[in-house]
Subunit: 373 residues, 2 copies
């Protein structure tokens, strides 16, 4: 068994998304050192480009050297201290994960729950903070990858801006696919992953911290429990001193840099429009075929569609056939949605009309065969 | 600025080491999903090959999805609980980092210190454990990258095997370059990095846990503070259930798999012999040129040589010239050794006679010019 034996797939699941030739070529560029001036220049440019896609002027904007879930952990670990009151919106797997991580860090966690597939009502979040004015952090998932819900954030952001409470937002599946607008929304810590709408392999977690978040971090009574994710230490490498912290994952950073160049060449507005257009095309085609969209109307992510299958169809075997007969990867449900739905990602380089057409042609063959059987 | 503008370097610093064409090609293989059966098969094979190079039968042997320092953090975070007594051998940067991480996790940390450049005497470690029989974990650095010291472990391993105390070992710079022998030595948790003697870009941290370590983890009174590094959760993905934890860094794992195939093709004994031979050649050539080896005689790593420069020579400007005039990267000193010494790595694909010749030719030019000036 070797890597060259691994067959290519059309990646239309919840991530990783297809990686373009340009990004793969950058990934394979000869490795240099993490203190090489050439590499440091590239890192600075990664920061500049990340600020653009996050919609922020935050100076501390960089990729964590691990995957999106480590971005989640870094965002909480830096701003939470044991005993802190933390409020988490939970309407899917990733909200649940935020709450679980915060608990492990010793926070006193309260949740605002919503049914899977529905948004967390912003007024419920604001009310919960009013009821618990000591709340230090509110954490919400912008794009809930387990359900396909796009969470509104504007009212919560406006409200928290006038309070000492920090707003932490999971933008793993949203960044580069729909606007994130960190500064305009009033987000204090925002993290993402590379393998969704940025079109880069998994392995890095872009993250950004507001000045309000940095003041919280500077005022900590004890250092961050995680040395690896301590942004105070990482900032020493990113800043003028270039102090060695850990060895950066050089080649993954090449790939991210190239992915961000592609984002900039396309332009953010054009990129969002492309994701919106193909996502809507897929969603209406699935409805035509008897699927039921899982996410609440008006709050559907274009780049990640969760859909319940037409009555009488089993999702697992059909999904398996998509992979093995057609070479198309899509995702199944997680947690309580396991076995019930499909999750289709049209993200980054995968967000094309051709992806939709290829998928629908395969689905139509499978559905025809299933009805006949 | 783009990745293709980054000039190649001959990487003879403390890491990353040169990455072969084969590994770069594997890295750029089209990305597939982390639950794709093809990828899971590759992951299983990575585990098998890692067991071989670690010298272990430990079933829980896998790469952490982050760099070597995250391997250090994972090794401690899983086995330490707040209040635990932990003993760390400190004779360089990485021992100091182990102690710092353990403290952040709430451990009561004692250290056995040795002068930089000298080994931590095994009898001092054993004595310290005898004096503090409640010691839950002893942590030692096998290959101290900041000084070039190869730490003996056999006596400590034999002693701790008969006690409840766990032995955690940093093999970041040793794995694949000198024998690690996890099982024979009695190491309970051992971690490494990919960018040293394995010849793979930075980004993954191979790690292995003994049954004794797993029993300690099962008996924890509270979950691991880090969700991302919790091996109990990661084992659910590696095991039969293939339970989603986080999205594995697919392409980095392609590269690691290819790097491990190269290790197996060469054979471990041949690989160790190659590192030993070229390391010794470099060290004696440096002595001939008036350098002083920093590490204690009899305990020198062949793959990482720390050397004080001949009197009157400033390390920084010469090292800079090596990089900018000759395209050769070597490292400077860290901490108290900053500005005093060079660190030269002959690791993985960089451990060749040609590397030594190229470096010495450049050094000779620089020294001649410096003497003339």
């Amino acid at each position: 068994m070797q890597t060259s034996d691994v067959d290519s797939r059309l990646l239309l699941g919840p991530g990783p998304s297809p990686v373009s030739e340009r990004v793969l070529r950058a990934l394979a560029h000869p490795t240099v050192g993490h203190l090489d001036p050439q590499f440091l220049e590239l890192m600075d440019d990664v920061g500049t480009r990340l600020r653009r896609v996050f919609g922020t002027d935050n100076r501390l904007t960089f990729p964590i050297s691990a995957t999106g879930s480590a971005g989640m952990e870094a965002s909480l670990a830096n701003v939470i201290e044991p005993g802190d009151e933390v409020l988490v919106g939970v309407n899917g797997v990733f909200g649940g994960r935020l709450a679980e991580m915060a608990r492990r860090m010793g926070a006193r966690v309260a949740t605002v729950e919503a049914e899977w597939g529905r948004i967390v009502p912003e007024e419920a979040v604001i009310e919960a903070v009013r009821a618990r004015p000591g709340t230090r952090v509110v954490a919400l998932v912008h794009a809930e990858t387990s359900t396909g819900v796009l969470q509104p954030l504007g009212d919560v952001g406006r409200f928290l801006r006038e309070t000492p409470t920090l707003l932490v937002v999971d933008a793993v599946t949203s960044l580069g696919g729909v606007p994130v607008d960190v500064d305009a929304t009033g987000i204090d810590v925002c993290y993402s992953g590379t393998q969704k709408c940025l079109g880069v392999p998994p392995g890095l977690a872009p993250i950004t911290f507001s000045e309000k978040a940095l003041r919280r971090i500077e005022g900590r009574s004890a250092p961050c429990q995680s040395w690896y994710l301590d942004v105070g230490l990482i900032a020493g490498y990113l800043g003028q001193e270039r102090r060695y912290h850990h060895t950066a994952p050089i080649n993954m950073l090449y790939a991210l840099h190239e992915g961000l160049r592609i984002v900039d060449e396309e332009g953010l507005e054009a990129r969002y429009a492309r994701h919106a257009r193909v996502g809507r095309a897929l969603q209406s085609a699935l409805i035509d075929r008897g699927f039921t969209l899982f996410a609440q109307e008006g709050h559907r992510l274009p780049q990640l569609t969760a859909a319940l299958l037409p009555d009488g169809l089993e999702e697992g075997p059909l999904r398996n056939e998509l992979l093995h007969r057609f070479g198309i990867e899509i995702g199944g449900g997680l947690g309580p949605a396991k076995g019930k739905l499909w999750r289709v990602g049209l993200m980054g380089a995968g967000a094309t009309d051709a992806s939709v057409d290829t998928l629908l042609a395969a689905v139509d063959q499978l559905l025809t065969a299933a009805v006949r059987a």
